[in-house]
């Protein structure tokens, strides 16, 4: 009761500082935890990638990571990620577009089929693909009449890209669905009323409106594919070794920590560059939207 009567007499500033103190106190666990178990390990990875056996500074782990076999693994990683991003963008665009035209009930059901797989272990879904794409799997059984069957769909790049695309697809569909639902239908109707054809409306009105979303969705699936390990390792052949596989091998089999650290840092830098680009695109898109609205 005493506190209650005293409260109004206290200046607001004090109240604010109490709220600040409480905030800092409650933020401590997450900040300390992530600094110790997330930021510090990454910084020590960075140091390790710059250190010689005798402790002096060097860049030779990066030279190693960017030459010979390691360079070709890096290029493979970029290539597979680009293929995955392109495919999941195209599939994601078609599916999100189709879902955005459905009635709410059907759209909800379709989104369930998109979202639920995302919460199921990637390992398990990869295993499903291995069963499906095998020489005697469902896909080859269904295509048995086709010339050239059975097709080799596993342990090559096609297999890897099929697998990774299905892993990235939920992201692109979710992102694009959100963007497409935000498109002002009135603009499309306005263009149509002024005599624009379907192709013109699509190209001149719809596409520019969803373009920033398309760019971020594509970039995001590219970034997420870069560090992928499970699907390429299980569904690919020796020519589909990706950088994450290499990092894993160097740590668990070859005890080559410095090399692994350098490749980890390269992967991190590529990811951060991609994220920066996503941010740039979304701010460009926002300013374009503002311009078209005014």
């Amino acid at each position: 009761m005493a506190a209650l009567t005293a409260a109004p007499a206290r200046p607001r500033k004090l109240l604010a500082s109490r709220k600040t103190r409480v905030g800092i106190l409650y933020a401590l666990p997450v900040v300390v935890y992530l600094l110790v178990l997330f930021v510090y390990p990454i910084i020590s990875t960075l140091f390790l990638s710059l250190k010689n056996a005798d402790g002096s500074l060097t860049l030779h782990w990066y030279v190693d990571a960017l030459t010979g076999v390691n360079l070709s693994v890096l290029i493979t990683t970029l290539r597979i990620s680009a293929e995955t991003a392109l495919l999941s963008l195209v599939f994601g665009f078609i599916l999100a577009n189709a879902i955005s035209r459905l009635r709410p009930l059907w759209a909800g059901l379709a989104m369930l089929i998109v979202v639920v797989p995302h919460f199921i272990s990637a390992l398990v879904r990869t295993y499903g693909w291995i069963i499906l794409l095998g020489d005697k799997g469902l896909v080859n059984e269904t295509l048995a009449w086709a010339p050239g069957a059975p097709y080799h769909l596993l342990y090559n790049e096609l297999g890897v890209v099929i697998g990774t695309t299905s892993m990235m697809l939920p992201y692109t569909v979710l992102l694009l669905y959100g963007v497409m639902r935000g498109v002002d239908r009135g603009l499309l109707a306005a263009a149509a009323s002024m005599g624009a054809g379907r192709v013109t409306i699509f190209r001149r009105v719809y596409l520019p409106l969803v373009a920033p979303g398309l760019a971020s969705a594509g970039l995001l699936s590219f970034i997420l594919s870069l560090g992928y390990y499970i699907t390429p390792a299980l569904m690919g052949g020796p020519n589909q070794t990706m950088i994450a596989t290499l990092i894993n091998q160097q740590v668990t089999k070859e005890n080559q920590w410095n090399g692994a650290a350098a490749q980890g840092v390269l992967l991190l830098l590529l990811t951060l560059a991609g994220l920066l680009l996503v941010k740039l695109i979304s701010s460009l898109g926002a300013s374009a939207k503002k311009r078209s609205a005014s």
Partner: protein, 288 residues
């Protein structure tokens, strides 16, 4: 709704393509579920004969699956507890207080979600290796918490933002202490979100592969690592049954989250409706 004059053929084509893409997402999961009951676990998709054999093999003597399952469950339980503690405190700090450097804290929380898991796993390996903690379930649980806690924080931020702060203020104005408000108002309203956060933390840890693989030893093999090993090194058909169980578990967990959300959705409305009733009743009362 690109063109407003839709052609029937165009609509049918789009529906067909969209259905194929949905199948592309669903088939790998369906095929694992079906194959787990098939006599021949590796070939021939629509199975000729059905069996429960792979599930029996799972729990037979000498099977390595029960140990992997219980280890994964233990680790997931530990990291759920850690994630909830971190999640509740962090979400409170980010939604209910004046926090300096709020956006920096927020960026730190998002970090583990955007940085490749293999990089996080490598860093944790370099942290725990010198501490000779490789193979320790605690180390794996601490590692999983790095990935699970940001998810818990995000869910709980959304939960706390969804709770009308006027309810807390009203309780405070009537003399309720901070603990009473937390216990009687905030906690009951946040409970569905906390359950969702717990479930998602548990699943994140249960399915986590990269950190587990880097931190595991011969004696501590988690379920996903065991599944991976079964798919690469040793042909073990019982992996189908384990995969099917993991799918069933994930779907069950999602259903549980949906159920809890649905049950909890009415609560705040029922509390607030009292307020709206009194608010609309008051002007009338004054006039009379």
């Amino acid at each position: 709704m690109i063109g407003l004059r839709k052609t029937v053929a165009g609509r049918i084509a789009l529906t067909a393509v969209a259905t194929v893409i949905l199948l592309f997402l669903a088939l790998p999961i369906v095929v694992v579920l079906v194959t787990s009951f098939s006599d021949n676990a590796f070939a021939a998709f629509p199975p000729d004969t059905w069996t429960l054999n792979w599930y029996k093999v799972l729990f037979a003597d000498g099977s390595k699956w029960p140990a992997a399952l219980s280890l994964s469950a233990l680790i997931a339980a530990l990291s759920t507890v850690f994630s909830l503690i971190i999640g509740v405190t962090a979400a409170t700090a980010l939604t209910r207080s004046e926090l300096p450097l709020r956006s920096a804290v927020y960026a730190l929380v998002l970090g583990p979600l955007v940085i490749p898991n293999i990089v996080t796993a490598l860093g944790l390996f370099l942290l725990f290796e010198p501490a000779t903690m490789l193979g320790s379930p605690l180390a794996i649980a601490l590692g999983h918490t790095v990935l699970a806690s940001p998810i818990a924080v995000l869910i709980l931020i959304a939960t706390l933002r969804g709770i009308d702060e006027r309810l807390e203020d009203a309780a405070a104005s009537m003399g309720a202490g901070r603990l009473t408000i937390a216990r009687r108002i905030t906690f009951p309203l946040a409970a569905p979100g906390m359950i969702a956060a717990a479930i998602f933390s548990f699943i994140t840890s249960l399915d986590e592969f990269y950190i587990s693989q880097f931190l595991s030893s011969v004696d501590t093999v988690t379920l996903p690592v065991q599944v991976y090993n079964s798919l690469t090194f040793e042909i073990d058909p019982s992996v189908t049954a384990v995969s099917a169980i993991l799918i069933a578990f994930a779907i069950l967990a999602l259903a549980l989250v949906a159920l809890v959300r649905w049950l909890g959705s009415g609560r705040q409305d029922s509390l607030l409706s009292v307020e709206t009733v009194t608010a609309t009743a008051a002007p009338g009362g004054e006039a009379a």
